[in-house]
Every structure is written in structure tokens, then in C-alpha cells.
Subunit: 442 residues, 2 copies
Amino acid sequence: MKRCDTIVIGDSLIGGNGKIWSNGAGVAVCGGIIVDVGEAREIIAQWQAEQTYHLGCVLLMPGLINAHTHVPMTMMRGFADDLPLLEWLNKHIFPVEAKLTRDLVALGARLGMYEMMRTGTTSFVDSYLLEEAVLETAETMGMRCTGGEVVFAFPSPAYADWSEAEALYRRHSERFPVGGRVQVAMMPHSVYTTNDALLKACRNLADDLGLMLHIHLAESIAESNQSRELHGGMRPVPYAHAMGLLSPSSVLAHAVDLDGSDIELIAQTGAQVVHNPVSNLKLASGVARVKEMASAGISISLGTDGACSNNTLDMFETMKLAAILAKGASGVATCVSAGEALAMATCEGARIFRTPGLGELNVGAPADLIALDLSEPNMIPMFNPVSHAVYAASGKDCVMTMVDGKVLFNAQQGGFQDGQYDDTRLAMADMVDWVRQKAREA
Amino acid sequence: MKRCDTIVIGDSLIGGNGKIWSNGAGVAVCGGIIVDVGEAREIIAQWQAEQTYHLGCVLLMPGLINAHTHVPMTMMRGFADDLPLLEWLNKHIFPVEAKLTRDLVALGARLGMYEMMRTGTTSFVDSYLLEEAVLETAETMGMRCTGGEVVFAFPSPAYADWSEAEALYRRHSERFPVGGRVQVAMMPHSVYTTNDALLKACRNLADDLGLMLHIHLAESIAESNQSRELHGGMRPVPYAHAMGLLSPSSVLAHAVDLDGSDIELIAQTGAQVVHNPVSNLKLASGVARVKEMASAGISISLGTDGACSNNTLDMFETMKLAAILAKGASGVATCVSAGEALAMATCEGARIFRTPGLGELNVGAPADLIALDLSEPNMIPMFNPVSHAVYAASGKDCVMTMVDGKVLFNAQQGGFQDGQYDDTRLAMADMVDWVRQKAREA
């Protein structure tokens, strides 16, 4: 018998390279790494574990990767809906954000991380104000996170100017190094809230520190119009390219309003795209050209965006919408299959994390996995586990979430394992009046 | 103290005409009818009930109404995805359906009804083969159902020709009368699977028996092209009108491929439309023109369609997609507000049921209500219960479902109240091989 830390056993399992087990399967985990994947009886026969989870009628699969979000925005979930973008931002969101403190950002981040671990997300890419509080919260709560302070050309609660922002990034990159469970990435906000010098400075600092660079780009027609006006007729994608922002270490969030040459340029430079279908619809930004981007060979991952423009962080919902919206928008029912949508929500998002093996349940990969309850009516009958994961499951079917070998949520053992969920819940109830008051004061 | 059968108490409640209670609220129910709605302390002070449910931290709201589905198709959930429509139908769905028996239809219907009561749907409009088994199952299981045997111009397992179909409808309309909890409606399948004489016969029989008439119409461009070829250049909507099908007692499912004059004609005749956004995207049928239909004054309700083309019966998912897809497709973020989406999923669908008061929690209405768990992270914080119901909730947040005053599902008391869910689950597991075999034989 070989020794390991943990064994997890379920009825079915989605392994790497599309391999499916349907008659009892499990994983063995040691030091946060998957050391075996296979038939349940073989895992049990070969490994002796400190702790074994016999989860019964569940589907084991890789945890989902939310490649674009702003987790502290859960504190404003449902605060302002159904409004034109500028009114939503200027009258509701920005006045509240201007009053944020580190403690409030940490509180919103806690709630967002509970929601993610409850709904089957194990990794997320985040940018926000006072992001240090998000990175620290991820460290404490056990989530896998790539995060960065959002960089604007104007002062923010975290810095007065670029030199302060740069110092902050240098500090973060020592404290949260690349490839770690919690790591930093460079996050200029967008081309319309920055300027030439700032974008070039961000690119240089990212290169200097070896960081990924993540930016909102081409989210709406309005952004394209503004870019053409300000940048000598250049649309957002060629402008970002002129600033040196497009490369294999660049991640472009949204990428909705693209023309054919934008798509070609992204493909040529090897930049990645994060598709945020729920937020793009809710804010009326439009429908990203997923079929064309995929045909051009662009890596497409998925994000929920912040809870204000969604209003959940449920990556199962996003994964299903990515698959069906691509079909409905293109008129091609074979466009974005279940397997392709699952890859977007796992392996493709994993590229941002520079963590070998992340996104699939294979030997040597980080033990980031979830279990879906197969006894719920929406999961019956089961012809194809991948179809169920993409088209039939809700995040709420997740009954167990493990990150880095540690169980963070287990419905069979009291839910959230850190025992502090109720404190967060009560603290968040007090936020309702605070948010309303700050918006009124504006 | 007044006496009633049941009191249900929660933290918040969405009542009729947009009235919200946020500090403890409840309903009193007598004989399946709501006899009081109001503040928790007033309900408790004024009513003495046989049974009181103190549900705690929940949002009480009307049960959702699925206005277009085929519940027995749950038995083929996930059996065939990501295929072109004709290949999907001819190679996978039709060969299995040709071998159906009453028992199998009843089994699929049971599973579908468990899924609906689990995910907050209390009423549904159904059409399928051997529909009598669906109507009987709804009667036994306590769901509210308007259903009808699907009518084709070719023989089906339930009838050899129209005269047999007519006799079957006359029998059903006595056994499941209009306005009852389980009632019959006339269900010609579509304009492309029938003919002039059959559609006119359906209309006449519906008028004779006083039934609603429900038909798939204008689901795809292919249907429009075929209609123009076969019917002297007429598109599906004017052709259906020429057959006498459009009137205030008509319900048109899908209505995706409409031009401006189609919309005008539907509005003029007072016919209702059922929007099926998930199915329309998954089958690549396209995006219905909800903004234009709503502006023309057409009543729009919502449906999931069958589980094969969705693959769930979760009306919360459908309600959210209806709201955000209308925004994304129109480019107008104020299009289909949360309140409008909720009305589509409740009061608008209720029109099909000819049951006074259905769809809102008001005194005198049927006691069809659900409770959403407000302690889940995705439901925190709560600024606006209607926003949460539409944008943040999943069907899986439903913890209690009552139809006609009877509790069908209660998460706090063992889940499904009829105690027969496990039998259905095990029987359904045996269906997997049967379905695969029937498809192979074809």
C-alpha cells in the first residue's frame, strides 16, 4: 500500500483528455497534488490515506476557473439593475466604490469566495480596488487566485499615482509570487481609463516582474467609438497592440466589439480572450464572436464578471450560456460543444495561472476538484457526464470543493469548512444600509 | 382567531402588484386558496392553522409557470447534444419516441415533475405523445398542468387518425375539465407536421370544447422557408391565421423567426407567445424579438421546452436568460426589467390556465407558492427581492414548493413529500440502456 493524504471516491469522474469513468472512480491526493486517478477499487486497493471521502452518487470533475471577476462587488449584488451603463456606473457603482475601505473589500471578497466554492469554482482571476485585501482573503480561505490592483490614470483608494502603484505591484509580486496558489498579475483597467504612458509603464513592469497582463478590452461599441476618436481612428485592439499590450502573456476580458482584423490581430499575437457572456448580455454590451475567435485559434476562457452585472458568480451558468449562445448567435447547433465549453471553463482559464497541470484531473496536477450530486432530478438519467456538467448542472449541484488538496466546502459535513460563513452573512446584512447611504450621498 | 389549513411564514415575500414585504411575512391558506397575505405577526395573530411552516430565512413568492414543455423528454436528457436539428430529430429523438409506451411516458413525466417542484415551478403546459399518462401523473403528484395529446397528420402511439384523436380529446376534456388543476388544451404540433384540414379540425374542436389551442409556430428560418413553399408564399404566422388559429385563446410556442407584419398580426389577433430562450439558443433557432413583441403589446410567457433541448426544466434559468438576452440582443440595458421577467414567468403564463388569480400571491388566488433560501451566498446581500429572484437565484435555491395548498417539496422535511422519488430515480437508471438500444435499432 502506498500512503497519501486524501482519497476522494465517487460514482463517475471526468479525467484529462476526455477520459470518463462511470462505474466508481476516485483520486488519491498527496501534498496538494493528484498522485493517482482511476477506478474506485484500484485507488482503494493501492492507497492508504489519512482521510477518505466516500461521496457516493457524485460526479468528480476539475474545479471551474473563473477567468474574469471582481469578487468584492458581491456587496452590491442586486443593488442597481436594468439601467443604462453610464447611469449604472456614475450614479450607483462609482459613488459606493469611492468610499471603500480594506475591511469592506475583504468582506465582499469573503462572500464572493464562499459563493465560488459553493458553486464549484476553485480558481479565479480578480481585479479590484484595494486588491491586496482580496489576495490576503484568498490566502486565508484557501482559494486559488490570480489578482491585481486595478490601474487607472486617476488616483484610487490604493495609490495616488503611478509611482505608488508601481511600488505596490513590486511589493505584491514578492509576497504573492507567480505560480503560487495566490499570485499577482498586472491589471490596467482599460484603454478608456488610462493613457499611452500608463499602458506602456504597465507593460514594462509586467515584463520586468514576469507577470501576466489582464485588461478589459473592446467591451462595447461605445468603447470602440471613443477609441477611434482619441487614438487617431484606431479601434481598441490595434491601439492596445500599439501600446505593446498584445502577447501570449496578455489576457483580454470581454472582446465583444471586434471586427475581422481585430480577431486576426489577437490570433497573430497569441493574446488570450476571456468571454463573459452573462455580463455582456445584462449590460447590453452584445454577443462576442466566439465562433470566429475559436476558428482563428484564439484561446477563449470564461468569466462571470462582477456580481453587480451578472448577478452571480456561478461558472456553471456561464459555461452553459457560452455553449448555447454561440450556437444561437451563429445559427450552427454544433458550435461550441459541451466538451469545448468545459475546456473553456477549465484548461483554457488555467493558462492564466502558470501552474502546470491545472484544469484537468491528471496525475501531477494540483488537487483542485469538485463533486456534483447525481441524485438530483436534473442530473437523471446520465448518458454523458460532460453533457450533464455543461447543460444540466447548476453550481448548486456542487456538494464538495477541494483546492490544493484541502476541502473547503462539503455539504455532507456542515458546508463551509472554515466555520465562519455565518459571521460573513451577518456582516453582509449590515452592508445593505451602508451601500444605500453612500449612493444617496453622491 | 380565524381558522385555516396552513400558514407559511418567511423573512420576505413578493406579493401581487409588486408589493414587497421584507421584515417577516406570510400567507394563510384554506381549501387550497390564499385567504390572507401580510406581515408575519399579523398572520400569526389572526389565524389558527392545522399546520404552520416557519421557514425562517426564505423569500416567499409565487410558483413559476412553465408555459411550454414536454416533460416525458427528461428520459432523454443529455442523450444527444450539439447536433444539427434534423440529425438530432431523425437519428436520435424520433426513433426512441416511436417505441414509447404509456408506462415510459409516465416515468419520464414523474421525473420531470420532481425536477419542476424541486426548482420552483408549480404549473406547466405540456404536449407529448400518450399525454394521458402525463395528465394522470400530474393529478397524482399534485402539480398544476394544462396538457394535450400532440396532433400530427400521421399516426402516433395514441391514435391512428383524426377521428381517434378527436374521440381521445372529447374523453380527456370530460376527465380533465377546463379550469381544473389538471386540464386539457388542444395541441396541434406545428404547421409543418399537419395540413389545412387537420388544423381547421383542431380549431373547431377547441372551440366546441372551449379549450385553449397551443402550437409550435415560427420556430426557425427553415420552418418559414418550408411554409412559403407549401402555402403559396405565406409565412407560418399568416398561414396559421388563415387556418383560424390566431385568437386570444391561442398560444404560439417559440415565435422566433418573425417579421414586422407577423408581429403586428399576432398583436391584432390577441394570440399569446411562449418564449423559450434556452432551447432556441441550444438548437440554434435564433433569438426571438422580445422587445418588438412586448412593444406591440403581445403577452409573452416563458417555457423551458423539453429537457432534450435545454437540458433542464429550471424556470429560474429561463427567466434570467429572458431578461438578459433581450438586453443583449436589443442593445438596450433597460429592456425586460427584473419585474417584467418575473411577470412573464408567473402572471403571463397564468393566462393559459383560466384559473382566476393564478400567478400572484393575493387573497383569493390558488395557493401555488415557493420559498427561496436567503441564507445561500448568492442571495446575499438583499437589496431587492425581485432582482434576486430573477438575476441571482437558481431553481436549486427553492426549499419549499406548494401547489393548490399542498406541500409537494420541503427541503427541511426530507425533500419530496410523496416518498417515491427513489423509485423513480432507480427506474430511470434502467432507461439509459433502453434508450441507447432503441436509437441503435433505428
